[in-house]
Symmetry: C2
Subunit: 152 residues, 2 copies
């Protein structure tokens, strides 16, 4: 506004839109998760990869990419970073694929990351006290399942 006494009072024509609310809520959530994970030295994607790897021993990085919607090309530096930290190792599978597994410290970090993410999830659900959390979950799944991933 041009009134210098009320510089923050814009009319907000997009606040009620579902898409905008969704984007903002996701952004806030990711910010909080990133802060919660700061103690581990991991970013949300890396923590997620460790957790997925812990649940799926000896899968390939392409498998993880497909599951998480990350392109093959972008998996390379992510996995390399986790190997650099000593959390993940590769072992040849069939000549073109390599099985990924967690090292001992990688298993510890996966457990730590899982704990942090679970705690964050719980803190997040507390903010939803009084709301239909299962309904929210179902609605978000309905929305997300319209996604089409090709490369992975």
């Amino acid at each position: 506004m041009s009134d210098p006494t009320k510089p923050h009072s814009l009319t907000d024509p997009i606040a009620p839109r579902l898409g905008y609310l969704l984007r903002r809520a996701s952004s806030v959530m990711m910010g909080g998760l990133g802060a919660a994970l700061a103690q581990t030295g991991l970013r949300p994607v890396q923590a997620t990869i460790l957790i997925v790897l812990n649940a799926n021993p000896d899968c390939s990085q392409s498998d993880i990419g497909r599951l998480l919607g990350i392109k093959r090309a972008n998996m390379v530096p992510l996995i390399a970073g986790l190997i650099d930290k000593g959390y993940v190792r590769k072992s040849p599978m069939d000549g073109r694929s390599q099985a990924l597994s967690l090292t001992q410290s990688g298993q510890a970090m996966a457990a730590m990351a899982d704990g942090v993410m679970t705690a964050h999830e719980a803190r997040f659900e507390m903010l939803l006290d009084g709301f239909d959390k299962d309904g929210l979950r179902a609605a978000l799944m309905a929305l997300a399942e319209r996604a089409v991933d090709d490369d992975g």
Copy 2:
């Protein structure tokens, strides 16, 4: 997995988490919005700025930044891009602030962008048929309102 006959069948330990669902739903939504806006040559942020500007004549780019959670420094190229396209113009306000306004073609584009975003919103709500849309909206607002913006 190591079984080559079922390369896509990873156990997914994060799918049920609210944070993950939120991020995925937001990502799918933004992807769809970006595709819907492609015909206008605008990205979601630019379209949003035009709509905000249409509802708030003569506000400053700092005002818009605060409303949308965009830092001052990042507003510069966004506004410059909209001026380059001939949709926005600046007029001096008080020597350090500049009032932004829509040009004639900017008003047309704002209307177009609003139409596309409203249609996208409607298509989006169709996917939620059978769900409590108002409940979803309220829950997302409750989540997003825990945000703290400083710079803007």
